[in-house]
């Protein structure tokens, strides 16, 4: 099989403001993000022949990608929704590329928008399966279960999770797009209330309204369209451990292990080649486990890896340079792709990683139920 590394690229990125958007529909925010992505690459709207979306997590709506296509006035050759939570963004990029390989489309927009901050948050607090009688509800406690096992097995400390939150907030303070631009200390993290022990408030992502979009095409087509700064897709991977966490073989290992292996193999690169990483961090523990599973350190050593500024700008591996889900926006993953593109284009001013050429992006969903990886470069 032909290796598709370097054959496709991201040519445009766009977003709304992150924060509160009272009264706006998710369709409306998708349109704003797509409009900005089209302006970003300067192509004509009529070049887009595929519209792919992750449906809003807060409110399921059927045929969602066709609702978005209609709102941007495009009759797509290829369209669809993938139901893999936060992994859907990269999964949809992969679906776009597959469709392009089949000759069914040439230029795809992939978008997402949601309004859990001013709308409904019920999706994140519902009972799990048949265990409501045991008080088994909500997203943060399920990640708390994963964090506690990592702590008990490997001696990982809450202060080490705190180092992840400190780095995210430090980076967000340099990002004018970030919803929360307040720097915090380890003490602030330790003093913040327990949401679900062992997770403190600062271990948990923001809740945000907003939209984001990226435009994908082949490197060859990008030239034809006259795009000046395409960012090349070097590697893709995916792996999806399980739905119910109690049925997962080992909850301290995520889909990042297999998904990352696929992406590094496709790209012909290793973890030490990466100039930065944008790691899905709905909760601090996910960042730590993903870094282990990608092979940046050994399993169980994530706690000491993230300490002493190693994952901060200026450290050995800058992680989540825009603030991630913890501090830029709680949006499920598209913002990490956008930040990866901007870093490689060198557009990040105060938070720019010097001479950033290669970066890895993780997307994941559910309770570490799904995972997708993308390696970008120039």
């Amino acid at each position: 099989m032909e290796n598709l590394s370097e054959k496709y690229c991201i040519i445009g990125v766009g977003q709304t403001k992150y924060g509160k958007h009272p009264g706006r529909t998710t369709i409306d925010m998708n349109v704003e993000a797509i409009k900005n992505a089209i302006e970003d690459c300067g192509i004509d709207k009529s070049s887009i022949d595929a519209v792919l979306c992750k449906y809003p997590t807060s409110t399921f709506s059927s045929f969602y990608s066709l609702q978005v296509a209609q709102a941007i006035g495009i009759v797509p050759k290829v369209s669809g929704v993938i139901d893999m939570g936060g992994a859907s963004n990269i999964n949809l990029i992969q679906y776009a590329i597959t469709s392009m390989e089949l000759g069914q489309c040439e230029t795809a927009v992939i978008s997402f928008a949601d309004n859990p901050l001013t709308g409904s948050r019920n999706a994140y607090t519902k009972p799990w399966g048949d265990s409501g009688v045991h008080g088994w509800f909500g997203t943060p406690p399920a990640y708390g279960m994963i964090a506690q096992r990592h702590m008990d097995l490997y001696g990982t400390k809450s202060e080490q999770l705190g180092a992840i939150a400190v780095a995210a907030h430090k980076h967000a303070a340099l990002n004018p797009n970030a919803q929360s631009r307040k720097e915090i200390t380890i003490e602030d993290h330790q003093n913040s209330k327990f949401i679900a022990r062992p997770l403190h408030l600062y271990d948990c992502c923001l809740v945000s309204d907003g939209g984001a979009a990226v435009i994908v095409t082949s490197v060859e087509n990008a030239k034809k369209l006259g795009v000046s700064n395409p960012v090349t897709i070097l590697g893709l991977g995916q792996s999806h451990p399980s739905w119910d966490i109690e049925l997962r073989k080992e909850i301290t290992v995520s889909g990042a292990k297999e998904s990352g292996r696929m992406a590094f193999e496709m790209a012909g690169l290793r973890p030490q080649d990466m100039d930065f990483a944008q790691i899905y961090d709905c909760f601090s523990i996910v960042n730590l486990i993903t870094l282990e599973d990608y092979g940046f350190c050994e399993k169980g050593e994530g706690g000491s890896f993230v300490e002493n500024g190693r994952i901060e700008l200026g450290g050995a591996l800058p992680v989540n340079t825009s603030g991630g889900l913890l501090s830029e926006t709680g949006m499920p993953g598209m913002q990490l792709i956008i930040e990866g593109v901007r870093q490689i284009r060198g557009e990040c001013s105060d938070r720019q990683v010097p001479d950033a050429k290669l970066g890895i992006i993780s997307n994941q969903g559910g309770i570490m139920s799904t995972h997708a990886t993308m390696i970008l470069g120039r």
Partner: protein
Amino acid sequence: MSEETTLEELLPVITDFNKHYYDSLEKGELVAKKCNDCDHSFLPAAKYCPNCLSENVDWKVLSGEGTVYSWVEYHRPYHEAFKDKVPYVVAIVELKEGPRLISNIIDYDLNTLKVGTQVEAVFTKGFSNFPMVNFREK
């Protein structure tokens, strides 16, 4: 929404395939499905063995002994029915016979509760007198 409706949404939906599980809890017995073709023991109850997809599965009574696979302590209630119950512990319990389930650790001690702690079943009643199995340190 009335109090009764909100409690209702917490209760499992009883089906042909899980009814015996809850009837057994009522009698103070913890049971799981066991496949006669591949020996796999599993929960939650289902018509097909998830290992070999056989329909040749029976119930078996379990010892009620197990270990804590992981745990979390709730500090905020996610449902009004749990308003007066925080803090409480939800755990994944790995039973001696293999299957894992979500349950509560009652009378827990944060100094001793950890991954690997040995626990035993305690049969209790939940909302609307619904039969349930909890665990405590052995």
